[in-house]
């Protein structure tokens, strides 16, 4: 089980990588969302705010009203942010669950895809 500190570290690294990726910023330039990540095993929650493609805030806790909520084990969340797991595979296996629109889901997956695959 990953600790909240580990997830926080991973999320912060993820933020930096996302904000430093030109193509990703261009792709998400019209996308602004509040995303909550919930660890189902320890109950911790993290907030990620995206404003026109830039991650402007990452923090522990459930801040703001979310448009998307992603639930997974703490291990999977940490691996997700480090790019050590394929979110689509976990999602299609039912191990990552999402509340939100299909379009938002695609954009979140696109973040992982662009960061780690291209």
């Amino acid at each position: 089980m990953a600790t909240p500190a580990e997830i926080a570290e991973a999320l912060a690294d993820y933020r930096d990588r996302c904000n430093g990726n030109e193509r990703l910023r261009r792709m998400l330039r019209t996308w602004s969302r509040v995303v909550h990540f919930r660890a189902v095993d320890d109950g911790s929650t993290f907030t990620m705010c995206v404003v026109e493609g830039e991650i402007t805030e990452v923090a522990e806790g459930a801040n703001h009203d979310p448009e998307v909520v992603i639930s997974a084990t703490s291990e999977d969340l940490a691996d997700l942010f480090w790019g050590d797991l394929n979110p689509a595979r976990k999602y299609l296996a039912g191990e990552i669950t999402v509340i939100g629109s299909a379009d938002d889901l695609l954009r979140i997956d696109a973040m992982a895809s662009l960061l780690w695959e291209e």
């Binding site: 909240p4 926080a8 930096d16 792709m27 979310p66 689509a88 999602y91 299609l92 509340i99």
Partner: protein
């Protein structure tokens, strides 16, 4: 699983769930399918076959309500099939299911293209060009990320349904035409025809279940079964009225055309009705192209990301649109449409679609049965009553109807739909059994070769183990307000263990 938050800012209510379910089913092909039904059943009784098909659709509603409640996710169809049968069989069925969407897109492109050609007075050969232009337009809009917003979709769907129901109701006040009486005498109706008509009737409701892919967007999970149920009711009323009206007013030639709804509008409201139905046909096409392209392309994208399709299908353009699936879907639909234009027989498309849809509903019945055994204790938002009986009956009925529909075209025995389905399933099987294992093996090898990026956590007992460079890195990776991460010596000296092989 963590509960749904009550404050999700964007979510679908019952109105949008219903309009989505209705809109996915009510494509332009609906009018054509209703007209084709009159070849099998006398006009005044066509509604009976639609009602019986509706009762069968209620069975399918039960299956998809239970399956969606068990897997409330856009990947539900992929998930419940994979959990209830061999993954290879599930993939073959899933890919064949996708073919239904291609057929509906192709049929709609053909119908709208034919209607436009007719309205503008262009020669018949121009239909192919108009179809290509329509699909090109839809593809361009999709690639540019242009989508019909939920509220607009609500308005257009309810508008289409209202106009259709209104025209259907008005048609009942009209005197039966001599041409319709003559048309009724040209067709031979019997028990066999009635059974095939039920299979075709199932096509009228088909795709209503695709709204289950929006399960993650709804305010409450129970809205999905409710919305689907209302959609089935709306579809029944609209199709029953139109079938009765068409049976009373249209001639044999008008019923056999690719745009019977235009003649129907004209018979009911004169030139105004003709223009109105032209507009309605275009609106249904917008809905179909929007919903069909988006639903299918996202599904193909996810399957590619999962590793079950080539990686090129997961490529995104600068507007976050999976452009390869969109182009592939448009090309497949164009080829199917052009084949119909050249063959001049859209009835083959209808029978193929009806057979595929019946097959999918039979598979859904099987999945409910299997998952009741395999995941007996799993929480379900919705449960089919008398599941063994309901699923057993559905399995047999949908199986028989699918088989009959696949060998009947225009009330004549014709195995072409069966051959088309066999080719689709054959291609999917060869891909899944021969190419997919190799592709997955290559993917596994690629993943195994990739280094694990995650920094393993341990409390640092020896501060000297942290180098200035790594400390600086850790500092930049820290968000204000969040705990400062700690890194272990294993990460620093490169001896950190590698983790499970599930990297992207």
């Amino acid at each position: 699983m963590v509960g749904r938050p009550s404050t999700l800012r964007r979510s679908m209510g019952l109105r949008t769930v219903t309009s989505t379910s209705t809109g996915l089913a009510f494509a332009a092909i609906e009018y054509l399918a209703v007209a084709s039904l009159l070849v099998y059943v006398a006009g005044d009784l066509a509604w009976v076959s639609i009602a019986v098909a509706g009762l069968l659709a209620l069975l399918a509603w039960g299956y998809f309500s239970e399956l969606s409640g068990l897997y409330p996710t856009a990947a539900g169809i992929r998930l419940f099939m994979a959990k209830s049968m061999d993954d290879r069989a599930a993939l073959v069925i899933t890919f064949s299911y996708l073919a239904t969407i291609v057929l509906v897109l192709a049929a709609d492109a053909f119908i709208v293209g034919s209607a436009l050609t007719h309205v503008t007075g262009l020669p018949a050969w121009a239909t192919g060009v108009v179809v290509a232009a329509l699909l090109g337009l839809a593809t361009t809009a999709n690639l540019r990320g242009i989508t019909v917003a939920g509220r607009v979709q609500d308005v257009t769907t309810y508008l289409v349904m209202a106009v259709t129901v209104l025209l259907g109701a008005l048609s009942l006040t009209k005197t039966r035409t001599a041409a319709s009486l003559a048309a009724a005498h040209t067709h031979h109706h019997g028990v066999g025809s009635f059974v095939v008509a039920i299979g075709l009737g199932v096509l009228l409701y088909s795709s209503f279940e695709w709204v289950t892919m929006n399960a993650e967007e709804v305010r409450e999970q129970r809205l999905i079964p409710r919305g689907m149920l209302i959609a089935l009711g709306l579809l029944f009323v609209a199709c029953a009225l139109v079938s009765t009206g068409m049976g009373r007013l249209l001639s044999s030639g008008e019923l056999a055309s690719a745009y019977p709804q235009l003649f129907f509008g004209k018979r009911v409201l004169g030139e105004a009705g003709y223009v109105l139905m032209c507009a309605i046909t275009l609106v249904t096409a917008v809905n179909t192209f929007n919903g069909g392209f988006i639903t299918a392309s996202r599904f193909v994208y996810a399957t590619a990301r999962e590793g079950s399709l080539p990686r090129s299908f997961a490529k995104l353009n600068d507007r976050a649109v999976p452009w390869v699936p969109v182009v592939a879907l448009a090309t497949s639909s164009l080829l199917a449409s052009l084949a119909v234009v050249l063959a001049g027989s859209f009835q083959v498309l209808l029978s193929t679609g009806a057979a595929l849809e019946c097959g999918v509903y039979a598979v859904a019945a099987l999945c409910v049965l299997r998952l009741r055994k395999r995941q007996a204790a799993a929480e379900r938002e919705f449960r089919v009553r008398a599941a063994r009986l309901a699923c057993g009956v559905g399995l047999v009925l949908f199986g028989v109807l699918g088989l009959l529909s696949s060998v009947s075209v225009d009330n004549e025995t014709n195995p072409l739909p069966l051959a088309i389905i066999a080719v689709i399933a054959g291609i999917a099987s060869v891909y899944v059994l021969r190419y997919l294992p190799r592709m997955r093996a290559a993917e596994e090898a690629r993943r195994a070769a990739a280094p694990r990026r995650r920094r393993p956590p341990i409390a640092v007992t020896d501060p000297a183990a942290i180098t200035p460079a790594s400390a600086a890195s850790a500092a930049t990776a820290t968000t204000p307000g969040l705990p400062t991460p700690v890194m272990d010596a294993g990460f620093l000296d490169g001896t950190a263990p590698t983790g499970p092989d599930d990297r992207p």
